[in-house]
């Protein structure tokens, strides 16, 4: 369970969208009530893009099984969240985020990593980095990796889990 906590789990959109927030861990997300997740990775086509300069970029990634809403914050220079960091560090982060925002264009295939969060009761990916995939095989590989990881890793309930998680799975 802990092993996956800081891991960017690769989930297909239909799987991602079925995640729930954990009752016991406020910031954690549950998959089928068993495992706690915090970060995710997806790969798909950018199907919508809504840019609020100096605030955020909202976009969706469609991987063929569903659409994952993503948000990329570009407000680092003004946000109080980053106020404790040194200004040069914040500038660095902001520059990086702006660069990512320019990469996201509708119709491109993008690999996105970030935190899995809840916004107004809906799941979304708060993006930390973006890579545009030009390799036509990358998407297929991503699907297969998602299936393999689900089978080999995410679907397996660790025996040490408390009964409540087991029940939910059953």
């Amino acid at each position: 369970m802990d092993a996956l906590h800081n891991t960017h789990v690769k989930l297909l959109a239909f799987d991602f969208l079925s995640l729930t927030s954990s009752a016991s861990h406020p910031n954690a997300i549950c998959r089928r009530g068993t495992i706690l997740l915090s970060r995710g990775e997806t790969l798909g086509i950018v199907t919508s893009r809504e840019y609020k300069p100096d605030r955020f970029l909202r976009f969706t990634i469609d991987d063929g099984t569903g659409c994952i809403p993503c948000v990329l914050w570009v407000n680092q220079l003004t946000s109080p969240y980053h106020s404790r960091r040194s200004p040069p560090d914040v500038r660095l982060i902001a520059e990086s985020a702006r660069n990512f925002a320019t990469l996201i264009q509708i119709g491109l295939s993008a690999r996105v990593r970030g935190k899995i969060t809840m916004y107004r009761g809906k799941l979304q990916l708060t993006v930390s980095d973006v890579v545009v995939e030009r390799d036509p095989n990358a998407e297929t590989l991503h699907w297969l990796q998602c299936i393999r990881l689900a089978r080999k890793c995410y679907d397996i309930v660790p025996p040490s889990l408390p009964p409540m998680y087991r029940k939910a799975d059953g």
Binding site: H8, P88, D89, D135, T140, R151, C153
Partner: protein
């Protein structure tokens, strides 16, 4: 009558004059067949799937013929001394003959032979096989006139009134060969009495035991005797003139015999033994049965009559080998007819159907092939049931009895077969090298076969032979056919058979592994990834001699085609690798190699169309016969033998008396010697050794050596000590005490180029770079006089030496190591030095060894000029260097930058992946095929001498002067697999998941497909004179693959640069350009990094352990000379940020064991850091992913599960 009139009469002399095989059987119509039922015409031809066209059917005459003549028992003739032959004669001539189903009534009668085969018989005779016959009309009326023969003549008689005495009626079980018994008579001294024995089982019923012999005779001759039970065995002795009945009686084995007029006598057998038997007298009569029909034999035990003796086997002859000593029946049984007294009819030809009676069945338990032996003894007889319709040679047993023949006769059956196989093998292997006399010996001299065989066979297989009489009568007590439990010696195999067998096993394994894909032989089908492409790797099979149970005999030579060392015999040659080949080896010697490995390599794609043989190259048939595989000339395989000389039983004194080794050692007895240190060997150049061209005679190869200014002097009175047991090394190694003398006080070392002409290639082959060699000093020899060049002819000998000291413990030992080097050397001689000389040498040698480019063990040792990192241009830089490492992959390459700029005209090269100190280094080569040593390929440890470094840092380039030496060949398949696993199998299976790493043992090589999540620690150092300018003594990256996270560690600059996104812009990764706009170009980043390090010397970037979103920003930077400037800090942080957001990687590394973890722990402790609570991986290689292959292998895995 019309038909009759068209039949031509043919005379025997006519047949003899034709001198060729003929048949007079095929045109006969049923009308012509008169009396005898026969099967011969309809005989199906024995199938021989291997050689369907090998046998010609006997040529028929175009018209029906008949032969008229008399059938006689043997009359001694000059052309044939075979006592089992019958004779057929007409007015013109007489020939040996055989007849199917002999009827005693025709003996001495004129017959018309209406169906026959005629075969030429050496030297001047012929052989008639009578298939059908009829009595000549003139004789027809005379038949009732006789019903018996007198045995001591061949006179027919009509015996009805005579009361037979001592009549014997029974089943003829066996007949012995004709023997000569020396008898003493008063008048004429000794004379030999010819005779033979027959064993008859008689009936003990009331009738047979009754005294009324007339009634018995009446009963028997009228066929009223079906109720007899033949159970009691008696022996008849046909001696004196009655032996002439041998051809007839021996053909009656298995039938009923009625003889009267015998006398009971006690016969002395020799060795104090005697036996009561029935002996023929002048009045002995052989009675004929009245009925001509075949009688059903009742009351006979058809199963084993005697212990170990089998009654009968009927089969067709499929092969006759070794001058008739081995007859193959039905392609599965080998009948051994090795006793010279056993004289079988000439009609034992390939294609004939025969019944063998009274033989010993034995399984020789040969490990290399499955075969059954029918061992023949003096009771064995063979009857031809159907003559062969094939034009195959007559059976002509060898009559001369050499020492070898006697030797073979004295062995147990399985050992006889083994010796016969040795005979056949050695004859094939050394034809043209040794004379037949040297191989087989003569009547008085032992040949090679006998010397070799007697040294291999245990005493238990030898048995004493007692002679025909004793062995026939006391069969069991003589130990005939006694099973001996022993392990048969190994098969001496001709090289052509060995090559075919190994290729066949290789192909069969390939097919088996292909069929059995679930089992997944992936290590062998593995590819190596290079430059974004996957390349095929050869698959390898290693066959051990102990699994094949064969031994190799052959001589060594340097191939004139490839310049490589080969093991040769007259049937073929095979490359051979002998790490400890002594320099005194001689091309005249025959070496016996008992313990060896055969390594076969090939690319699966090239082998797909190959079929496996349905012919076992190790089968007895293929050892006896000429065997040549059709596949041999095609070059689909690399095949070579790997062995050590110390494993070779030194049997040169047996196998080859010509050895001149002793003479060579004489050179060492006194005199002075030059001492040479070999600096380099130059490879054979491509332009000479073409694909089809033989190396021309004026071709030379070169080696570079340093001649020491002092000579070693050996004085005559110096004691020569022979050491016999230095590391079990069987060759003579001499320990020499010597004095080091200065030739000239002021002389310095001289560098020499040694030239070897084609006759001296084998000397070149023996040289090892870094080895010391002695060469005899002569007045004004070339070594003394020439300035920079000397020619090594075939006479001058180079002795490989190793220095030893009186006290070989403690510091002396270290000193020795510094002199000798630590590489594995198998010296010809040891030179013993006093401690003074040793320390003197050590100092001097240290200076001299500077010229020798020592192999480096880690790429970090390489020094460079600065300003090398010129992006995009991969020029060779720096000095020549030597590297040693494990070859993990070899593939064709078109590394264009190199080849077109440096070597014109070379378009295709080879890229060699070498694992040096956990890092994979690429070595590019465009050397000719022959420049790679035998056995070079993935899995071997090799040293690359005099290679050039390129500005890429871990890419090396072979030059035309570079030399590759294989240090350890892979001879163990287990090791092989593990090495394959390190590289290529990883590419074939899906990447391992980090969550699965728990299941892997330490050191296990794994491949992960992951992204960098955070940088935990990065130590950067300035490297003033070294390339790359920036060194990373330690780097720890936290990586993530979706299943878990782990920490991967490295100190490999290339790995760090790649993971930081600073290396090989766009190379091998066509989709990467998108990153370019995001960050500044790599070139600028590198120069900025260098500037920072120029200022600080070293910079340490530490992460406090947080894996938060911006953990790469939350790091602490510290320079060795104070804090880092803010702008520099921002630059470095931007690098880290870049590292965490770039693409996914293929990371290859090994799981760290506890020792590695402890070492890492210590290094982190010095940096005030701790280990992260996750698995640790030491990374050796990072590359872009082949997405399609990865996807395919995941899919395959998913479909299976």
């Amino acid at each position: 009558m019309e038909v009759e009139s068209s039949v031509k009469l043919i005379s025997v002399s006519d047949l003899l004059h034709r001198l060729r095989a003929l048949t007079g059987a095929s045109l006969l119509s049923p009308i012509n067949s008169v009396r005898r039922p026969t099967l011969s015409i309809d005989t199906p031809q024995p199938s021989d799937p291997q050689n369907p066209n090998n046998h010609k059917i006997l040529k028929p005459l175009s018209y029906p013929t008949v032969l008229v003549g008399t059938l006689n028992l043997t009359v001694p003739s000059s052309s044939c001394s075979n006592s089992s032959c019958l004779t057929f004669s007409d007015h013109s001539a007489a020939v040996c003959c055989d007849i199917l189903d002999i009827d005693l009534r025709i003996v001495g009668q004129r017959i018309r032979v209406v169906a026959w085969n005629f075969l030429a018989l050496k030297p001047h005779g012929g052989y008639l096989e009578i298939i059908r016959w009829s009595l000549d009309e003139s004789e027809e009326n005379s038949i009732p006139k006789f019903n018996a023969f007198y045995l001591n003549s061949v006179i027919p008689t009509y015996e009805e009134t005579i009361i037979p005495r001592h009549s014997i009626y029974g089943l003829l079980e066996s007949v012995s060969p004709v023997s000569n018994v020396p008898c003493t008579t008063n008048k004429t001294g000794t004379r030999n009495i010819k005779g033979f024995l027959a064993e008859i089982t008689i009936c003990e019923c009331q009738l047979c035991c009754s005294r009324d012999k007339v009634m018995l005779l009446h009963h028997i001759t009228r066929e009223q005797s079906n109720s007899h039970k033949f159970s009691k065995s008696i022996v008849l002795y046909f001696c004196g003139s009655s032996w002439i009945w041998y051809p007839a009686i021996s053909r009656l084995v298995g039938g009923i015999l009625f003889i009267s007029g015998m006398k009971k006598k006690m016969v002395f057998l020799g060795e104090g033994k005697s036996l009561m038997m029935y002996v023929t007298t002048e009045k002995s009569i052989l009675h004929l049965p009245i009925s001509k029909s075949k009688r059903a034999i009742n009351g006979r035990n058809i199963a084993i009559r005697e212990k170990g003796l089998f009654s009968a086997y009927t089969g067709s002859i499929t092969g006759v080998y070794m001058q008739g000593m081995v007859i193959e029946l039905d392609q599965k049984v080998l009948l051994l007819l090795t006793d010279h007294q056993l004289l079988m009819p000439h009609s034992l030809r390939v294609g004939a159907t025969v019944t063998v009676r009274n033989f010993h069945l034995e399984d020789p338990k040969f490990a290399w092939t499955k075969v059954k032996i029918f061992g023949s003894c003096y009771k064995t007889s063979i009857r031809v049931n159907i003559f062969s319709p094939i034009e195959s040679g007559c059976y002509q047993p060898l009559e001369s009895r050499s020492l070898l023949r006697k030797f073979i006769e004295s062995l147990a059956f399985s050992a006889r077969l083994w010796v016969l196989l040795v005979v056949s093998s050695l004859k094939k292997k050394f034809s043209g090298v040794l004379s037949e006399m040297e191989i087989l010996g003569s009547k008085h001299i032992e040949g090679l076969v006998q010397k070799y065989s007697s040294s291999c066979l245990p005493l238990s297989v030898f048995r004493f032979r007692h002679g025909i009489l004793t062995e026939y009568c006391q069969h069991e007590s003589c130990g005939c056919g006694k099973l001996i439990d022993y392990t048969p010696p190994k098969l001496v195999v001709p090289i052509s058979n060995l090559i075919s067998q190994c290729e066949d096993i290789f192909i069969k394994r390939l097919y088996t592994s292909e069929k059995d894909k679930d089992y997944n032989m992936s290590p062998k089908y593995s590819n190596v990834l290079c430059g974004g492409k996957s390349h095929d790797q050869p698959i390898r099979t290693i066959l051990k001699s102990e699994d094949m149970n064969v031994v190799l005999l052959g001589s060594l030579k340097i191939s004139e085609y490839s310049g490589r060392l080969q093991l040769v015999d007259a049937t073929g040659s095979i490359d051979i690798v002998i790490p400890d080949l002594p320099s005194v080896w001689s091309i005249k010697d025959i070496y016996e190699i008992n313990d060896f490995s055969v390594v076969i390599e090939g690319f699966p794609q090239q082998l797909q169309h190959l079929q496996s043989l349905n012919n076992d190259p190790f089968s007895c048939k293929n050892i006896f016969n000429h065997f040549q595989s059709s596949r041999r000339k095609q070059k689909q395989f690399t095949i070579y033998i790997y062995c050590f000389m110390r494993d070779t039983k030194s049997r040169n004194h047996i196998l080859c008396p010509k050895t001149d080794k002793e003479e060579k050692y004489k050179e060492l007895e006194n005199g002075s010697f030059h001492l040479l240190l070999l600096l380099h060997k130059f490879p054979l150049q491509k332009k000479f050794a073409g694909d089809n061209g033989v190396i021309s005679n004026n071709l030379s190869v070169y080696a570079e050596a340093v001649v020491f200014p002092w000579n070693l002097v050996l004085k005559k009175e110096t004691d020569l000590l022979e050491l016999n047991s230095i590391e079990d090394y069987q060759e003579k190694i001499k320990l020499l005490n010597c004095i080091v003398t200065n030739m000239q006080e002021n002389s310095s070392c001289k560098k020499l180029l040694l030239e070897f002409k084609s006759d001296g290639f084998w000397k070149y082959e023996l040289l090892k770079i870094g080895g010391y060699y002695l060469i005899k000093h002569h007045e004004k020899d070339l070594v003394c006089t020439s300035k920079d060049f000397t020619f090594v002819n075939s006479k001058s000998h180079l002795w490989n030496v190793l220095f030893t000291a009186d006290d070989v413990a403690g510091p002396t030992c270290d000193n020795l190591n510094t002199i000798n080097g630590c590489q594995e050397i198998f010296p010809d001689i040891y030179i013993n030095l006093s401690l003074d000389h040793l320390s003197f040498l050590q100092v001097k040698l240290k200076e001299l060894k500077q010229d020798l480019i020592q192999p480096i063990k880690s790429m970090k040792e390489i020094s460079f000029n600065s300003s090398l990192m010129v992006s995009g241009v991969n020029l060779p830089k720096g000095d020549l260097l030597s590297v040693k490492g494990l070859v993990v992959g070899v593939h064709n390459s078109s590394h264009q930058i190199f080849h077109h700029r440096i070597f014109h005209g070379v378009t295709n090269g080879v890229c060699i992946h070498v694992l040096i100190d956990h890092n994979v280094v690429k070595v590019y080569s465009n050397l000719s095929e022959h420049s790679y040593p035998v056995g070079f390929g993935p899995g071997v440890e090799a040293t690359f001498y005099r290679v050039l470094l390129t500005s890429e840092g871990d890419v090396l380039k072979l030059t035309p002067a570079s030399f590759i030496e294989v240090n350890s060949t892979i001879i163990n398949e287990l090791k092989d697999t593990s090495i394959m696993e390190t590289t290529s199998s990883l590419a074939n299976n899906p990447a391992t998941l980090i969550s699965e790493m728990i299941h892997f043992s330490d050191h296990k090589h794994i491949r992960l497909h992951c992204k960098v999540m955070a940088i935990y620690v990065l130590v950067m150092e300035n490297n003033n004179e070294l390339l790359p300018r920036v060194k990373f003594p330690l780097a720890g990256f936290v990586i993530d693959d979706g299943s878990s996270t782990c920490c991967c560690w490295t100190d490999n600059e290339r790995v760090v640069m790649l993971l930081l996104g600073l290396h090989e812009e766009g190379q091998g990764q066509p989709w990467k350009r998108c990153r370019k706009s995001l960050f500044k170009s790599n070139k600028m980043e590198m120069s900025r990094m260098r500037k920072i390090l120029d200022q600080h010397g070293s910079v340490v970037i530490k992460n406090s352990g947080s894996l938060s979103e911006y953990s790469c920003i939350d790091v602490k930077l510290s320079g060795s000379s104070g804090s880092v400037k803010e702008s520099d800090e921002q630059f470095l942080k931007s690098l880290l940020l870049q590292a965490c957001s770039i693409n996914t990687w293929n990371v290859v590394g090994s799981v760290l064991d506890s020792e590695g973890v402890n070492e890492l722990y210590e290094r982190l402790r010095k940096l005030d850091m701790v280990m992260l609570p996750m698995r640790n991986l030491w990374v050796s290689q990072v590359s872009y992913l082949d997405t399609m292959n990865e996807a395919r292998s995941i899919l395959q895995q998913l479909l299976k599960s």
